[in-house]
């Protein structure tokens, strides 16, 4: 998995991931979220448009990131998941916890 972090207006950080979000990549994702929050960006929009595949380890890392951001007074929102990611969210009953936005750069436009 590869990633980039881009700071937007309002202090939102857009984290763009690519590749497989699986047990190999999960620990990296936790580090990326932790360091982004530590640098003063507790609002993270996670762009999943280039994630090809997710498993329950990757999902667990997203949930861990969600808790990390909320503990810092922010939030983690996901954007542009593909059909495989949507299926995993649906079957694990996580669609309401990790609501999918269309576009990462506007995921926090409503606050």
């Amino acid at each position: 998995m590869e990633f980039t972090v881009k700071e937007m207006d309002g202090g939102v950080a857009v984290v763009r991931l690519s590749g497989m979000l699986n047990m190999v990549a999960a620990s990296l994702l936790r580090v990326v979220v932790g360091s982004t929050v530590a640098e003063g960006h507790p609002k993270i929009a996670m762009d999943l448009s280039e994630i090809d595949f997710i498993d329950s380890s990757g999902l667990g890392a997203l949930i861990g990131g969600l808790k990390t951001t909320r503990q810092a007074g922010g939030d983690l929102r996901i954007a542009a998941p593909n059909d495989q990611v949507r299926l995993v969210l649906q079957l694990t009953n996580m669609e309401r916890v990790l609501t999918a936005y269309e576009d990462a750069e506007t995921a926090f436009s409503n606050g």
Binding site: M20, M23, V24, D55, Q84, T92, V97
Partner: protein, 150 residues
């Protein structure tokens, strides 16, 4: 299964990981173009979960060797996995998705939601897992997922 196509993979973790499995599945999909995209990624998700669980939880520190056979036919796709890891001390019956903010515990319920059968047995010092999915069907809802112990 008439006219079934079988792909076999032997892997040792470490150094192999689920990436090795993704590579094999790419060749399976090329050889079995009749599989719908939704069937492919549903089965791939279930199998990666299973192999990931084995690599993570069955390794006693000396690594795990696995033999995986994937059988594709017109109406079904199956995977037979045997591994040298610790006995799979896992309860398959009655598994439910954990609470929303739990970071683990979704692997087995997710497999059961994605395939029609998940079985496990310990035989000859090996763990033997089997998943089977009927093609063209819809994923099971988590609440109605079957839990079969072989």
């Amino acid at each position: 299964m008439d006219d079934a196509l079988i792909h076999t993979l032997r892997m040792s973790s470490p150094p192999d990981d689920v990436g090795t499995l993704h590579d094999l599945l790419e060749s399976v999909w090329v050889d079995a173009p009749q599989l719908a995209v939704r069937d492919r990624f549903g089965f791939e998700t279930a199998l990666v979960e299973l192999v990931g669980n084995v690599i993570c939880h069955a390794d006693n520190g000396s690594g795990v060797s696995c033999t995986l056979s994937i059988v594709t036919a017109d109406n079904r796709i199956e995977a037979l996995l045997s591994d040298t890891g610790e006995p799979g001390n896992v309860e398959l019956r009655g598994r439910e998705m954990p609470d929303g903010l739990s970071e683990s515990g979704r692997g087995i319920p997710l497999i059961q939601a994605l395939v029609d059968e998940l079985t496990y047995e310990r035989e000859g010092g090996l763990n033997r897992w089997r998943i089977s999915k009927q093609l063209g069907g819809r994923p099971n809802s988590p609440a109605s997922a079957p839990a079969v112990i072989g």
